[in-house]
Symmetry: C3
Subunit: 268 residues, 3 copies
């Protein structure tokens, strides 16, 4: 009997127009009726593994110990791609082996990692197009009910890794990229607090110059409220990444800076 209700999160590209998400929840509740199920997001653009990887990486540290994260962004469903079940950072991650766990693997060394192969823990009739329901949710419900990770299949040492856009550091400069825009039109970059700390130690905010999408932005703000409405600004977002924003507006709408757009930073 677990001491408290197991937490299970779902991150998919299913949207909420169909009942795919609900079907996964039905399967989970069959074995784990007490589960605390949280929608991480279901609005990942279809098959956008990179976006899901970042969302998961930014979110999982906020969840309690033993949380089970299920990720179903799975263009290879029905092929021979593996399904992984990983223990890391004292939480669990169940996902197709397509790189979607990249940010987890980079931030927390896995404690255990198996390929999910034991059909005992699958639904009875496994479809070829919806492993999210028939395999991943099913396995998660057993994991939540107390089954050991090692029961699901053999150890794996070579998960598929995802190529991420690089951050390049110079003495007085940093090169990175826009990795996604959020709902508010904030452009989130792959440049993190640690990168800025390295180049700007002892510097004033005004010594920071940022180029992105043909625009130049000076200084690092602390909050949206500090900048004039409608003006571009840079700040450290809530996941510790440099973000390009427009106070009271949308940087994504104002700049031509889709994912992958270079972001150049210099110390004056």
């Amino acid at each position: 009997m677990p001491a408290q209700r197991p937490v299970i999160t779902l991150l998919t590209d299913f949207g909420m127009c169909d009942s795919y998400v609900a079907q996964m929840k039905g399967v989970i509740l069959q074995k784990s009726p007490d589960a605390q199920i949280v929608d991480l997001s279901h609005e990942i653009p279809p098959q956008d593994i990179l976006r899901a990887a970042y969302l998961l990486g930014d979110s999982y540290p906020r969840f309690p110990r033993a949380t089970i994260h299920i990720v179903v962004v799975d263009p290879g469903v029905g092929s021979d791609r593996r399904v992984l079940c990983i223990s890391a950072a004292r939480q669990f991650f169940i996902a197709p082996d397509n790189g979607v766990l990249e940010l987890v693997l980079r931030s927390a060394p896995p404690e255990a990692m198996v390929a999910v192969t034991n059909r005992w823990y699958f639904q009875k009739n496994v479809s070829t197009t919806f492993h999210g329901r028939d395999i991943l949710a099913s396995v998660a419900s057993h994991l939540a009910a107390g089954v050991k990770l090692s029961r699901f299949g053999p150890p794996v040492a070579d998960p598929v890794r995802l190529q991420l856009p690089q951050v390049t550091m110079g003495d007085k400069q940093i090169s990175g990229a826009v990795i996604y825009a959020d709902r508010f039109g904030n452009l989130v970059t792959n440049i993190e607090r640690k990168h800025l700390a390295q180049v700007f130690q002892g510097a004033k905010s005004s010594q920071m110059l940022v180029w992105v999408g043909g625009r130049e932005i000076r200084g690092l703000w602390r909050s949206y409220a500090e900048q004039q409405p409608g003006e571009l600004m840079c700040l450290l977002g809530s996941s510790g990444r440099l973000e390009i924003s427009v106070s009271g507006g949308s940087a994504a709408a104002g700049l031509d800076a889709p994912r992958g757009t270079p972001v150049e930073i210099a110390r004056l």
Copy 2:
């Protein structure tokens, strides 16, 4: 005292911009604070009873025994249309009597069926425009708390039935129709595994020819990954229905095949 937390699902055309769904949940939690509430979907196009009927039919078999499904797609709210509470497949269904339970009725003979009339189980002031909250959610919360179905009102024997698009079987052919497109642009049809089994027993995949929206598709694939990206394909989807898909793309975007479009299949 129920042995485990009651599961209650909600299927509506309310969307999530307003607070209608939340108000229903508030009412449920008043009487059934321990309920495990699952959003089946709230993105049914306004008053699209047929779409809701299919979503419910495809989803309910995934849920545990005693789950209570509430459906609020209710163009007749405030008129004298009845509200039904049905027990079938060892689960419960509460819905306006407008045909939205058609797929349930076809797949599982009802164990009991009543018209919900006992105002004792309604909210105190019943609005004329939101029975989902004031009647259906309220009754569900009592049902979850252990009240017997028969307390809600008198037995009903003649629920409103929904006309569904027909599947016509020949010796070597099947005629059906597109019933909806899902988020990925898969065109889901009313042709089921059993229909295909009848005509294609002993046949090779290459003996199947499908016409839909002016296009011809040969063969039945097992998974998206087997077809070239961008190419049309047919496969048996996760709810056991024939689906027209584009590998890594959207069949709905590529074909002019809205709901009701004929789908013709022949055995070569």
Copy 3:
């Protein structure tokens, strides 16, 4: 040990594309693993305090005693605007001090009201852009776990108030405004049942004349089903407000009547 699971609702302008909502839930579950978390809505247009205020005001009365409502529509995040924690109507409300609690304050005299300042109950590293996670959700999780309101900070007597569009009453007329459109295109007004009762006591429905967006509507209907499909109508909506609707259609699509559009009513 609380007698039952604490209910916590979330009302934000975060949408569900990102993981902001999920991050708040992760924080809540850290301290309050048994919480019953309900999404009130996350589709508030970015920074639309007025819309959030109305949604909250219309919804909170449906929730059980001791429910904790968290509102994060927070254009001033990171500035020196206060965060409030209020007890009213035997429920709790945690929100930035920007007027978003206006409808609560008008309908229920606060039993207690504090400014949230005690960092003991915050997350360890408070970001400047996501107080919803680092302060509001964190404080809510402690409140749900039994911490007294007074522990969060000093009493407050002067919450920021929101200017709402006025209703003006005459002997035989009422002037109000459209306050929002819902998903179905119903135009919800600030004219309430009590206003109509005052002017139309003893009157027949046909004595009511309404002007809005250049159109004239006669009579007050009881339900959508009473009017011809496609025709304009007025009725008292589920939150007790006068609504302009089109039976089986969208009044918002048919009328040019955005928020703030005057609504004039006369008794003939």
